[in-house]
């Protein structure tokens, strides 16, 4: 503690240099923590849904291919299945093309059984079942477009050649995707001229251990049909959806690491310059009786303070920006829920400390071990 004054005074020796170093570390760690948060959040989404008892059953050819609606009864009759909700992608926009967010039409009868963990009120479920034009909206989309319960909205069709007029009867919170909008499939079916096809079936199973059994059973039932199915747990379904982003995540992570390494080298250069300027002072301190280890500790502490100050600033800024981003960009699907996980916060602060310590290690070690007489000659 008695050395704190010495460390602080040396940090303030060149305020501009200290500020610029802290700022550059802060910017690099801002970029690092923001980029590293992306895959971590994706993994978190998967982890949240890993224990799910829900199965997605879709066309084996891909999500854009349809299945006959008649499959629903056969799925419902499969052992261990407690609820089935058919789903069709509508792909509408609210005002213009920039207002995109996932909007889907689902069967209203068993929505409460299928998604009890989505924070929908009892009244919301009841109204959704009662009113043909009802819709349930995720809280992210509600905030984004300043919507409220009871409001009537119109979704413009981009896939279907018609619009749908909907009444908001409830919001979705908790584990629900914050940007989703659900409305009734019977309304869509009628408007589309009853084509009798669906994009996906959500299937709820009695126990999670029965999920593999039901998956196998479903795909077996529809094997060799005109629309073979591929069933998968909700975690696997979201995982496949996110798979398309994997390369992007990897590039983002690599970029983050490169930025940190680059700034580490810049910080090392700054530390070397700062320590080199003080070689004679360090020699004087050693001639007074300061041990090499104490000098090394003091120099590393200065650098550690700079690194951590940059880390806290960068991390804090990234946390706030991601928070604002997640509220303002719900159209990104699961990625819309990006927030800085505590693990990334810890990683970033460790990176900050390492930048501080490693950047100063070699010049500080060299200065602490220098020959006192040679260093004193620098003054003369």
């Amino acid at each position: 503690m008695k050395y704190a004054m010495l460390i602080l005074k040396n940090l303030m020796r060149s305020k501009r240099r200290t500020f610029l170093t802290v700022f550059s570390i802060a910017v690099s760690l801002f970029i690092f923590s923001a980029l590293v948060s992306l895959p971590t959040v994706a993994n978190q989404v998967l982890a949240d849904s890993a224990s799910s008892v829900r199965i997605a059953c879709h066309n084996k050819a891909g999500l854009t291919y349809f299945m006959p609606m008649a499959y629903q009864q056969r799925i419902a009759a499969t052992p261990h299945v407690v609820a089935v909700v058919s789903e069709s992608w509508f792909g509408g926009i609210l005002h213009d093309i920039n207002d995109q967010f996932p909007n889907l039409a689902v069967d209203p009868d068993q929505v409460d059984l299928m998604w009890p963990d989505w924070g929908i009120s009892k009244q919301g479920f009841e109204d959704f079942k009662r009113l043909r034009t009802a819709c349930l909206v995720g809280n992210g989309t509600m905030k984004r477009f300043h919507l409220h319960i009871g409001q009537q909205i119109q979704l413009k069709g981009t896939v279907y050649p018609f619009n749908v007029t909907l009444n908001i009867v409830g919001t979705m919170n908790d584990k629900a995707p914050p940007n989703f909008l659900l409305f009734r499939r019977d309304y869509l079916e009628e408007a589309a001229g009853r084509p009798g096809v669906v994009s996906n079936f959500w299937v709820r199973v009695d126990h999670s251990e029965n999920v593999p059994l039901v998956i196998a059973s479903l795909d077996e039932q529809f094997a060799n049909s005109s629309a073979e199915t591929r069933s998968e747990s909700e975690a696997a379904f979201i995982g496949n959806f996110l798979q398309g982003f994997r390369t992007f995540f990897q590039i983002a992570e690599m970029l983050g690491v490169i930025v940190v390494l680059t700034i580490g080298l810049v910080a090392a250069n700054t530390a070397a310059m700062s320590i080199r300027e003080r070689r004679s002072e360090i020699a004087v301190m050693r001639s007074i009786g300061f041990r090499s280890g104490t000098i090394l500790g003091l120099l590393l502490s200065e650098s550690l303070v700079i690194g951590l100050a940059g880390g806290i600033l960068g991390c804090g800024a990234a946390f706030l920006v991601l928070k604002a981003f997640s509220v303002g960009a719900p159209a990104l699907g699961p990625l819309g829920s990006i927030r800085m996980p505590p693990g990334v916060l810890v990683e970033t602060l460790i990176a900050a400390a390492l930048i501080g310590l490693l950047s100063a290690w070699f010049p500080a070690r060299s200065a602490a071990r220098q020959n006192i007489v040679d260093a004193l000659r620098l003054v003369a």
């Binding site: 008695k2 050395y3 004054m5 010495l6 005074k9 040396n10 303030m12 020796r13 004679s280 002072e281 004087v284 301190m285 050693r286 001639s287 007074i288 009786g289 300061f290 041990r291 090499s292 280890g293 104490t294 006192i372 007489v373 004193l376 003054v379 003369a380």
Partner: protein, 243 residues
């Protein structure tokens, strides 16, 4: 009566290697400095004065020979022990003051005390006393850049004496000062010697210094060329030096 020696140097040589050349800075020097004396090591440039001071202060190692300070042999000490020894026994004063520019006079003087177990209040008391001795109690919050050369050197002397070391070793303490400031510094060192009984070994080529010291050790080309009484020597000291 047996005289106690603050410094004993026996057959000390110091050879530096500069690229492929060997420089013999000190060559088989033997000398003794009695306790409580104010002595000067004098000689022309390159005579080995500062090398001798560095060996006494324990910041350089002899190539051969034995150096003992305060009865403790330092020649074989490891760097870690030597650092602790310097903190206890040596008060170094440099020609260019070598104060830390970002610290005030008070903080500069406090620096060696950070190595002790003294409390903050005790450190303050010691620093204030040292600054009073050098007559700079009213400048303790000033930074080195706000002080004159003479004042900076006095702060450096306060830093050297604040731990109450066995020996004070000023290296050309007047070398960067005008005549008036140089006189002040030499008077201050005399006061430290007479009032506080500090052994002072000063390296200088300033001829005025001879008036203040009791013994002059003359070095020339790395060898001890002579020991002479200074102008401040008592008759007994003068007789001892001549012998």
């Amino acid at each position: 009566m047996d005289e106690k020696y603050a410094i004993e140097i026996d057959h000390v040589s110091r050879v530096y290697k500069r690229d492929e050349f060997e420089v013999r800075a000190l060559d088989d020097v033997t000398m003794r400095v009695p306790e409580g004396r104010f002595v000067a090591i004098m000689g022309p440039s390159g005579s080995g004065k500062t090398t001798m001071l560095n060996l006494i202060a324990g910041i350089d190692h002899a190539t051969s020979g034995r150096v003992a300070v305060g009865g403790e042999e330092i020649t074989s000490m490891k760097e870690r022990d030597l650092a602790a020894w310097r903190a206890r026994h040596i008060g170094l004063v440099f020609q260019f003051y070598n104060l830390i520019p970002v610290l005030t006079a008070f903080e500069n003087v406090e620096l060696p005390l950070l190595l002790t177990h003294l409390s903050k209040a005790e450190r303050r008391e010691h620093v204030e006393t040292a600054l009073k001795v050098v007559n700079l109690a009213d400048r303790m919050d000033h930074y080195p850049r706000q002080l004159s050369g003479g004042q900076e050197q006095r702060v450096a002397i306060a830093r050297a004496i604040v731990t109450d070391p066995t020996i004070v070793v000023p290296d050309e303490p007047t070398g960067d000062l005008d005549a008036k400031s140089a006189e002040e510094i030499l008077n201050l060192l005399t006061q430290l010697n007479r009032q506080f009984h500090k052994t002072i070994v000063m390296v200088t080529h300033d001829p005025r210094a001879e008036r203040y010291v009791e013994t002059v050790y003359r070095l020339d080309k790395g060898v001890l060329a002579g020991i002479e009484p200074g102008k401040a020597a008592t008759p007994a000291q003068a007789a001892g030096a001549s012998a």
